[in-house]
């Protein structure tokens, strides 16, 4: 495990009180760091919506996102069990426990995943969601990695819930709803960009994220501007339609 990245990640996870804090970016960071640190193939994150559902708020890949969605749609799977019990759920070999999740297990196999570890996002009796780790090879998860994964989930949960003294439930709910709507905006933007450039959804998402990074903007802001037509991502168009961009040239003009 990369110790430096791990300590950086803990610092990032406690950095929720800054101006312009964005729950979606925060959750994406958590899933991406989980993949980098915990020897897993993909990670996904579910949060509880006061409407009564769990919602997929972040995933490190489209396959993981679809698999999380699959569980919600079929009301079955380790991540749901984890959320409902507030306890970690591990399936080291999904094929061996297929009877427990007759629909989820084959769907996970089709997506290329053979093992899953679900970790609750929980503070005392309040369970706000679940962090789910997927691996492409069967076998037990390394106990150290699981402990570190739970620590990441715990710190993220505490960071979200510690918000601003008495108003904390109001603030968290405001931020969560904003995040859920941002998630919708991002999906709308993915669809628009995928259609415009003939990409799949994963490619569209990566381009949006890259573009946000290059412009130093929040992903949700950029996605909204793109959907509303106030940002055409023209530089991105141009860089992609160029037949063979030379390797030394930056992919797009900065600051345009």
């Amino acid at each position: 495990m990369d110790g430096e990245l791990l300590s950086d990640t803990f610092v990032e996870l406690t950095d929720t009180m800054v101006a312009g804090f964005d729950v979606i970016d925060f959750m994406h960071m958590l899933t991406n760091r989980s993949v980098q640190l915990l020897d897993v193939s993909a990670a996904g994150l579910l949060l509880a919506d006061p409407r009564g559902d769990l919602r997929v708020v972040a995933a490190s890949s489209e396959a993981a996102r679809l698999l999380e969605l699959f569980q919600l749609q079929n009301d079955e799977g380790p991540c749901l069990d984890c959320f409902r019990s507030g306890q970690p759920v591990q399936a080291a070999d999904l094929a061996a426990v297929a009877p427990r999740w007759p629909r989820f297990a084959p769907a996970a196999g089709q997506a290329g995943f053979t093992a899953v570890q679900a970790l609750p996002m929980r503070l005392r009796e309040q369970v706000i969601g679940a962090l789910n780790l997927f691996r492409a090879s069967p076998g037990p998860f390394d106990p150290t990695n699981v402990r570190v994964g739970q620590a990441l989930a715990d710190v993220a949960t505490i960071s979200l819930l510690q918000e601003r003294n008495m108003r904390h439930s109001d603030t968290l709910n405001e931020q969560l709803q904003t995040a859920l709507n941002s998630r919708v905006i991002i999906e709308q933007a993915k669809g628009k960009l995928a259609e415009r450039l003939g990409l799949d959804m994963d490619q569209a998402f990566n381009l949006l994220r890259e573009s946000a990074r290059t412009q130093n903007r929040r992903l949700s802001d950029l996605a909204q501007a793109f959907v509303n037509g106030t940002d055409t991502l023209a530089s991105l168009d141009a860089s992609r339609s160029r037949p063979r961009p030379s390797a030394s040239r930056p992919p797009r003009l900065p600051g345009s």
Binding site: D49, P50, G52, Q73, D170, V184, Q188, G191, M201
Partner: protein, 260 residues
């Protein structure tokens, strides 16, 4: 289950509409929310895109005053909700934080009789159709259950406002006045499956802005109209579009372009 919950809320809204004998509109969602969420009053501002909205419904005099105050002073939970894209839950207007945030509006709202205001943007991603605000004479946060209900009222009001836009344009999805008989039926007779199946619906909506050369609200209206006209579930139709098995044509009467 959200399906049962959406159906319960839809029937409350439909009952509200039946009381005045008209077709179901977002104003009915605003009215019905007052009793269901246990607040004192509510108001709803309908807005089309970035334009300033119009006050569509107030449920009592204080609501009207509160709406006017926000408009006059240019500050308050409503404008903040519209700008931030998330609800603004001001559960105690006497709190320092509320007073700091709305130095003119917070004391004026207290005078008007409101101790707590909860403002919900009427939105679907980048689609913005207005703001629904609830006020209460007593301070204190909404319970998790009340908040969930308020969010579903706001979701439903959003769909009803989009339906109304579609009717103005002479589209096909506007059957909002229809019976709410089937379980989970929402506005336009669509199953209320937006929350759980929504990523594909959102992606398909984004794709349609390009295929049809329209804005995001119009794209969503056309997606629903197509599902309604072809008697298909919105999520199934969306999946076909995302998988590029189906394209819609830039034509006011959308027809399938055959199999891709």
């Amino acid at each position: 289950m959200t399906d049962g919950r959406s159906a319960r809320i839809w029937s409350l809204i439909a009952a509200q509409a039946a009381r005045h004998g008209g077709r179901v509109s977002a104003a009915d969602a605003c009215e019905a929310a007052v009793a269901a969420v246990d607040v004192t009053g509510a108001w709803l501002i309908a807005a089309n895109g970035e334009q300033a909205g119009h006050l569509m419904r107030v449920t009592d005099q204080a609501s009207e005053l509160l709406a006017e105050l926000q408009l006059t002073l240019g500050e308050g939970p409503g404008p903040d909700a519209a700008a931030s894209g998330g609800p603004v839950l001001a559960s105690d207007l006497d709190e320092m934080e509320a007073v700091r945030r709305w130095p003119a509006f917070a004391p004026a709202a207290r005078q008007a009789g409101a101790a707590a205001i909860f403002a919900f943007p009427l939105q679907l991603g980048a689609i913005r159709t207005g703001v629904m605000s609830l006020y209460r004479v007593r301070s204190g946060p909404l319970s998790a259950f009340q908040l969930g209900d308020a969010l579903i009222f706001a979701d439903t009001a959003t769909l009803l406002l989009l339906d109304a836009q579609d009717q103005t344009a002479g589209g096909a999805a506007g059957s909002a006045g229809g019976p709410a008989g089937s379980a989970g039926a929402g506005p336009g007779g669509q199953p209320a499956d937006l929350t759980r199946h929504r990523a594909e619906i959102d992606q398909a909506t984004g794709m349609l802005t390009e295929q049809l050369g329209v804005g995001i609200a119009e794209a969503f209206i056309r997606l629903r109209a197509h599902a309604y006209a072809h008697d298909r579930r919105l999520s199934d139709l969306a999946r076909d579009i995302v998988a590029r098995r189906l394209r819609l044509l830039p034509d006011p009467d959308p027809r399938e372009d055959g199999q891709a």
